[in-house]
Subunit: 220 residues, 2 copies
DNA sequence: CGGCATCCTCTTTGATACTG
DNA sequence: CAGTATCAAAGAGGATGCCG
């Protein structure tokens, strides 16, 4: 029957420890990540965005996160008729934490390729934190990324750079291949030639990349 | 004899997941916190700054953190003859992560007072992230904080605000009492009168506080 | 003492299977 | 689809022992 966990705490009067009492459990921050990049999710969407999580663990984490005020569970009304999980404001406030952690983790993304699984929505982190439109007055463009069966595209327009699901209608540039090669390209750790040599398929106008990545001439 | 842990990984090609593979284990980030606020530590200093940690767990975490490049272990040479643990550069790079987490945790520090334990070096977080010297050209001053048997003091001078161990020689202001009241005062969530009413002992020139806390007239 | 290693118990997790 | 149920394995916590 129902039970409730005794909320393990570090028992320290320190804001870091207090925060970790809430977000320090395994999988918790990755659930926040998924809700940040996907927006409100069904249980199955979450499970899909969190490969490796055990179903019972996801279920109990969501309950704990609801209890601690990170997550709001909505019984979707008439049309969808399914429950949706989304972040509360307090949960969204964790974005700077995810950004800091993700930034620290970036150097570990360069290794050739392990057998890690990948989901295309995870490009969101790099896109929102590392890319910006350097040519605001140029026409909009799209860069399609095909790393998994689910294509996504980077939409660049009026100074904003965002990741969108699905294929682009008329992409200026299309990249297909290993996610690590795209990641290297987007974070400027890999040159176009090197990425191509390592097997990335690049077709279209490569100036689109220069428009959004941090160039060597960044002097700001 | 020697063994080695199978390094549990999320197995996801995502910089947040990769980072959490390294820093996501219980106690790891708190060990980083202690090494950040205390600097190079002996094993016993660490254990003292981490009330609640099991000795064997601290020991094995330190080994893992050494293996993953966060911590450097130095066999102190002749005089001290003890081993010192300190952060590598990669470990120090975690400071923005600690800051983001600690900032998120701040709202949870206001609760009256639980039976959490406290160490005076933990004031460092608030001091370095939330206080600044608004009157750079005024003479230096010290604010002594007596929350535990180990007094500390905030040293303000030439635009810098730092936390120092021990008593001040000639403090401009001295606060004694519950850490939560001092914390509320420093983060501007509690007025001087309220803090006094709640039992904080305040003696000296309270203008010293106004010099370093964010005032209501912040319009920057 | 400082710096662990061992032993033991309890909780958390991971993998898989099953149900309304 | 949205979870529960079950069970084995791993990790956490606490006490104590060892060794320079």
């Amino acid at each position: 029957m129902g039970y409730s966990r005794a909320v393990r705490s570090y028992g320290q009067y320190c804001s870091v420890a207090k925060a970790l009492d809430i977000i320090g459990d395994r999988w918790t921050l990755l659930i926040v990540r998924e809700l940040l990049v996907q927006g409100p999710c069904r249980y199955t969407d979450l499970r899909n965005g969190l490969p490796g999580v055990a179903s019972n663990l996801l279920s109990s984490r969501l309950k704990e996160m609801e209890a601690s005020g990170l997550v709001v569970k909505q019984n979707a009304p008439a049309p969808v008729a399914t429950t949706l999980f989304s972040l509360s404001e307090r949960g969204r406030d964790l974005e700077p934490v995810l950004t800091a952690i993700g930034t620290w983790g970036l150097p570990m993304m360069t290794s050739p390729k392990s057998d890690d699984v990948f989901r295309s929505q995870w490009f969101t982190f790099v896109v929102t934190n590392y890319l910006h439109d350097r040519l605001e007055h140029e026409p909009a463009l799209d860069i399609e990324l095909r790393a998994t069966s689910d294509a996504v595209h980077i939409h660049v327009e009026h100074g904003s750079v965002v990741l969108c699901r699905g294929s682009a209608e008329d992409p200026t540039l299309t990249l297909s291949g290993e996610p690590s090669l795209m990641m290297g390209l987007l974070t400027n750790q890999l040159s176009l030639d090197d990425a191509r040599a390592l097997g990335l398929d690049i077709s279209g106008d490569t100036n689109a990349l220069k428009r959004i990545t941090a160039g060597d001439d960044e002097a700001d």
